[in-house]
């Protein structure tokens, strides 16, 4: 009881720190700390597969991706001008959170847990269609990232075109 409470309090503090900090790199490090605490919580909940994935992907890969994008765009100070008024954002987020909480309270407990079912069996046998779709999604995402990142080099040299046109008209 003390262990999940402490981990969740730390995770909540990391999440609030990631939202309220004014430096992007600090926000990324707070997100990595949140992932580490969540993976510890998953491990405590007897869910070692998702704990390892959360630690390697959430605290590793996503942190590297975010740090790489910050290094490409620059670690700028973030202004505090909100997108929505804070009271409206608080009201909307509280409504959505209460709706989710109400939905989760309706989950009935099962008296006889199915201990013989493994994650790989569920993943590869019961949810094989999801795995296929997920694989297709991975390829689509890789193609999209490649297209977006290489498209920039070909789509922005349009500033030279007006000068070329102007020189052509002057020649004519």
């Amino acid at each position: 009881m003390i262990m999940p409470l402490g981990l969740l309090l730390g995770a909540g503090a990391c999440a609030i720190s990631a939202i309220h900090t004014t430096r992007l790199l600090s926000a990324v490090l707070s997100l990595a700390g949140l992932s580490v605490l969540l993976s510890l919580l998953f491990f405590w909940m007897d869910a070692p597969v998702i704990a390892v994935v959360e630690l390697s992907v959430g605290a590793g890969l996503v942190t590297v991706l975010l740090a790489l994008s910050i290094s490409l765009t620059g670690d700028t100070h973030i202004g505090h001008t909100p997108g929505l008024p804070r009271w409206l954002a608080l009201l909307l987020s509280a409504m959505l959170t209460l709706a989710l909480g109400g939905g989760m309270l309706g989950i009935p407990p099962v008296t006889e847990p199915a201990n013989d079912v493994t994650v790989s069996r569920v993943f590869w046998e019961q949810r094989s269609a999801d795995v296929l779709l997920q694989s297709a999604l991975i390829f689509v995402a890789l193609l999209t990232v490649t297209a977006v990142l290489t498209g920039a080099k070909t789509s922005y040299p349009t500033q030279t075109e007006p000068t070329l046109l102007r020189s052509d008209s002057e020649v004519v």
């Binding site: 969740l8 992932s35 909940m45 869910a47 765009t73 099962v110 199915a114 079912v117 999801d130 991975i138």
Partner: protein, 92 residues
């Protein structure tokens, strides 16, 4: 207070912070970070549901899908954010 209720409060905390961040933040990368927090709340909800129902394998496999898809969503969103930043530097 039971363990399931503590976990539920944690789910709601992460979900609420993520939604609030998505609504008030304006920087692209910070919005992606808020989306990551929201999705971490969702994956914790799935694992918690499996823990409460006594089906941890199903909850873990669903959370695994959520983490994988969310990673690629973050990759595409970061690529778009980099492109937007570059175009804003060039266009004015």
């Amino acid at each position: 207070m039971t363990t399931a209720e503590v976990l539920l409060i944690g789910v709601l905390l992460l979900f609420g912070v993520g939604v609030y961040g998505l609504l008030i933040l304006r920087h692209y990368i910070q919005q992606i970070i808020a989306l990551q927090i929201l999705v971490k709340g969702a994956s914790l909800a799935l694992v918690t549901a499996g823990y409460v129902r006594g089906e941890p394998a199903l909850g873990q496999s669903l959370a695994l899908t959520v983490v994988a898809v969310d990673t690629f969503v973050a990759a595409v969103a970061l690529a778009l954010a980099i492109q937007l930043q570059r175009s804003q530097e060039v266009s004015p």
